[in-house]
């Protein structure tokens, strides 16, 4: 990547001090208005000290050789954000009752301004997010990025993967058409064959021994409150660890100590 050109150094970096009696800082209404943004940020920072954390996250260094494969994680996050925003718009019209769900989606598709467009973004966004999360996982796997000291970040990542799949499973029922209804029945039944927890999991998902009126609202609560909340929290932790530990360098890049250090080593070693 090309280096960004540094701004030219000012010709006179040390401006002469103000004469005694003259006020420091901006003067006049316009001067103060110009400083308003800085003042507001300073006001917040004085009370929160957020700028330190922000500087720590934004101006940390990314190792040499970082390439486009390293954008897959943030692309996954971006797809999730898109799902969250489009999901909020769908939730404004969606009605999670067995008798009204289908009609409310029909209403979104046919009558709401840009409704089908937003609905389509949400539907296909899920495919995009699943593809991206698998690509990101593949990248971290083949680059050996799950090894020391990033083991925990891998484990959190797998939890994120499971929850992403849970999102698509629970969302599939919501349109409540034939396809989603019967696919979900079979899916829940498959869950039920699992050892130990299987039957309980199925009962929990169905909200009872049979698919009933409350099943849909249960899926809705799982889909729009429970799992996305957990995903957002874990994503925050995942990203905190990324900033804390730094992203890996591509595995084939060799570390060459800078010249000064190498010379020093030659003189120290016998």
């Amino acid at each position: 990547m090309a280096k960004i050109k540094l701004p030219a150094t000012p010709s006179n970096p040390l401006s002469s001090p103000k004469r005694p009696g003259k006020k420091y800082g901006p003067s006049g209404v316009m001067g103060h208005a110009g400083e308003a943004g800085v003042t507001a940020v300073d006001w917040i920072d004085e009370r929160t000290s957020l700028s330190g954390g922000l500087r720590w996250a934004m101006f940390r260094k990314v190792p040499k050789g970082t390439n486009w494969f390293y954008t897959l994680g943030s692309a996954t996050m971006f797809a999730f954000l898109s799902q969250a925003v489009t999901g909020v718009f769908l939730a404004m019209y969606y009605d999670p009752s067995a008798t009204r769900a289908y009609e409310s989606i029909q209403y979104i598709n046919n009558d709401v301004f840009l409704g089908e467009f937003v609905h389509g973004m949400h539907r296909w966004g899920s495919s995009v997010m699943v593809i991206l999360i698998f690509l990101h996982m593949g990248r971290t796997f083949f680059f050996g990025a799950y090894k020391y000291p990033r083991e925990l970040n891998w484990v959190i990542g797998v939890a994120l993967l499971v929850m992403t799949m849970t999102m698509s499973f629970s969302g599939y029922l919501l349109p409540f058409d034939q396809r989603s209804y019967w696919a979900t029945i079979v899916g829940v039944n498959i869950n039920g064959t699992g050892p130990l927890v299987g039957p309980y999991l199925s009962e929990f998902l169905r909200a009872g021994p049979y698919f009933g009126a409350t099943t849909l609202s249960r899926f809705y609560a799982i889909h729009m409150l429970m799992v996305p909340g957990a995903i957002a929290a874990l994503m925050g932790f995942h990203l905190y660890l990324v900033a804390k530990l730094g992203t890996t360098a591509p595995p084939w890049i060799k570390a060459k100590p800078p010249e000064e250090l190498r010379e020093e080593k030659v003189t120290v070693d016998p």
């Binding site: 990547m1 796997f141 696919a183």
Partner: protein, 247 residues
């Protein structure tokens, strides 16, 4: 990795990191470019593919094909690859659970210091194998298509009972076909061989009573047809009759 290797890694990483560039604006610029691509793809897919709805869910209806979203195909196909009924619980939950546990624990059993894919032959081969397996199973699932057609010639013992029996047999075949049974069962040339057993000669193995019991009270993952039997007893009876006649 032992202590020495860990320290070596941290030292090398520190060097590489100090020679790198700040996250802002370099990495942020790449991430933003990627975000724009992601957004463009989602918007394009929404415009081209839309968000059509199928017919409304109807617990009593008999025209459905239980197909999951495409990225679950590989899990669904796993059910078909593993045939013997005794092993089905293994396929439905056993294999995925084991794979998931292996995935979770990966950093704890693969502890070598080497990170280059070409110098980790086992990990890299296993990774490529999993990618190919998932790709192949997804392809199988996509190619299977919605199975709603069953052509079985009317058996001799039915045609000898007169035209009414033949009509009932064909109506039953319709109901079975539209109920999507062939998504999981084989009927002669039609249908998928699994996860359910082949039903080509089910009438020879089970009496009508037992077939009816299974339809009302199936073992998972098969859905129950008790709703159909209540809403439309004739169709349900035709379904049972058709299956019982398959000998």
């Amino acid at each position: 990795m032992n202590k020495e290797q860990k320290e070596q890694y941290l030292r090398d990483y520190g060097t590489l990191k100090s020679q790198g560039k700040p996250f802002f604006p370099y990495a942020v610029a790449k991430d933003s470019a990627m975000a724009i691509v992601v957004m463009a793809v989602i918007i394009a897919m929404s415009i081209v593919l839309g968000a059509e709805l199928g017919p409304k869910a109807d617990p009593t209806s008999t025209t459905y094909t239980p197909r999951p979203e495409w990225y679950f195909f590989f899990l669904f196909e796993l059910l078909r690859v593993i045939k013997p009924p005794a092993l089905v619980p293994l396929a439905t939950i056993g294999v995925p659970t084991i794979c998931l546990i292996l995935l979770f624990l990966l950093p704890f059993y693969d502890r070598g210091p080497e990170r280059r894919p070409e110098r980790r032959p086992i990990a890299t081969t296993a990774g490529i194998f999993v990618v190919c397996a998932i790709g192949y199973l997804t392809y199988l699932g996509a190619a299977a298509g919605p199975p709603t057609q069953i052509d079985i010639p009317v058996p001799a013992n039915v045609s000898s009972q007169g035209p009414e029996a033949v009509a009932n047999f064909e109506a039953g075949s319709q109901v079975v076909a539209q109920s999507g049974c062939a998504a999981c069962h084989k009927f002669g040339e039609n249908g998928n061989s699994g996860p359910g057993p082949s039903l080509t000669k089910i009438g020879a193995r089970l009496p009508a009573q037992a077939i009816q019991r299974t339809l009302l009270n199936p073992s998972a993952p098969m859905p129950s047809f008790s709703a159909l039997s209540e809403e439309s007893p004739t169709q349900f009876a035709q379904m049972v009759g058709f299956l019982a006649a398959l000998k």
